[in-house]
Subunit: 187 residues, 2 copies
C-alpha cells in the first residue's frame, strides 16, 4: 500500500513530523490525494483545491508540489472533506471526496466524521484500523470543471509604502494597507 511515493508507514511518519499529530483526517487525506493523483493524466500542471482548511491542506502540501505559499493550493471554507486537482488553465480536473454513502460499513469512521459520539468515547485505535483497511473504499471520484478565474490569486500589482505604518503594501488595497485600515489583529 502506497501513499504517493511513500509507504503507508513513511507517510504516517511525515504526517506526524509536519502536522504534529496523527490526525485521522490526514490519514484519510493521504488516500484522497493519492487517488486523485492516480486519476489525473500524467505530466500536466495541476493546481489544487481543498474544500476545508481542516487537516486536508497538509496532505496536499506533503504529497504534491502545491503549497499555500506558492499559490498552487487554494483553501475554500465549505467544510466539505474534498480535494480537487485541476489543469490550471482549462480547469479540467478530478475531485475526490469522503463519501457518506460508503461509510455504512465503517461505523467508527462514520461516528468520527459525523461527530456521532463525543471525542472521549471514540475508539481511536479502531478508527485507525478502519481507515487503514478501508482506504479508497471510503472515497468517490468526480470529474469536474473548475472556473480557474474565480480561484487564481490576484497579482499583487504595484507596491508602495503605507503612509501610516511605513511598510510596503499593495496599492490596489487603497490609501492605506488593510491592517491600518481597521483589520489589524493587534491591540
Amino acid at each position: 500500500m502506497k501513499i504517493g511515493n511513500y509507504s503507508f508507514d513513511e507517510y504516517l511518519h511525515l504526517v506526524k513530523s509536519f502536522h504534529g499529530s496523527l490526525a485521522p483526517g490526514l490519514v484519510i487525506g493521504g488516500f484522497m490525494v493519492d487517488l486523485a493523483l492516480k486519476s489525473l493524466p500524467e505530466g500536466e500542471l495541476f493546481d489544487a483545491i481543498c474544500e476545508t482548511p481542516v487537516c486536508l491542506p497538509d496532505a496536499v502540501q506533503l504529497l504534491t508540489p502545491c503549497t499555500v505559499g506558492n499559490g498552487w493550493l487554494t483553501v475554500l471554507p465549505f467544510g466539505r472533506y474534498a480535494v480537487t486537482f485541476y489543469e490550471k488553465y482549462g480547469g479540467e480536473g478530478v475531485r475526490v471526496y469522503l463519501d457518506p454513502a460508503k461509510m455504512e460499513a465503517w461505523p467508527e469512521t462514520k461516528a468520527w466524521f459525523f461527530k456521532l459520539k463525543p471525542k472521549k468515547e471514540q475508539d481511536a485505535r479502531r478508527l485507525f484500523e478502519e481507515i487503514r483497511e478501508a482506504g479508497e473504499k471510503l472515497l468517490s471520484v468526480q470529474r469536474v470543471r473548475v472556473r480557474p478565474e474565480t480561484l487564481r490569486r490576484k497579482k499583487m500589482g504595484p507596491v508602495a509604502a503605507c503612509p501610516q505604518c511605513g511598510e510596503a503594501y499593495p496599492v490596489r488595497d487603497g490609501e492605506r494597507c488593510r491592517a491600518c485600515g481597521g483589520e489589524s489583529p493587534y491591540r
Copy 2:
C-alpha cells in the same frame, strides 16, 4: 549561519523541495521566522500569523510546528511581508517584518521588493547574495498583542449531510453547504 535547526544550505534545499523554487521571499522568510523564534520565550505554545499568503506561509510551515492544516497558522490578506508568533491564549507575541527603512543599503533587494524594475531586469544572483549577506539586517522586530478571538478558527460544530450534494457539511452554514449555496468553483 543557521535558519531554525538547519544550515543555510539545508534550508535552501528544503525550500526547493517543498515550495518548488528558490523564491527570494522564502529565503528572507527563513531569516524572519528564525529571528521571531529566537525572540520568543522558550517552551510556550505559539500560534503563527502570516500577513500575506505569498511565500511566507511556507517558511513558517517548514520551520515551525504551525501549518495551515493544523490551524496553528493563520494567513491574513494584508500584503505586508510580516510574520507574528503569539501565545495562543494571552496573545502576547513577536512580529517580524521586512523593513523598508533598512533596505537602502541593499538596492537589488529594494528593487525586487518594491517592484522598481521588471522581473527580466532583476539580477537574481545579486539579489540572492544581498539577501544572504544582509539576513536579519533587513528586518525589524515588534512586540505585539494579538486578539486571539479574532483569529481562532471556529469549531466546526454539528455536521449533517447536505440535502443537495449529500456530503457532510457544518450545520452552522445553513440549510445547504456553501458550495451548493452558490459558492461552488465548479461549472
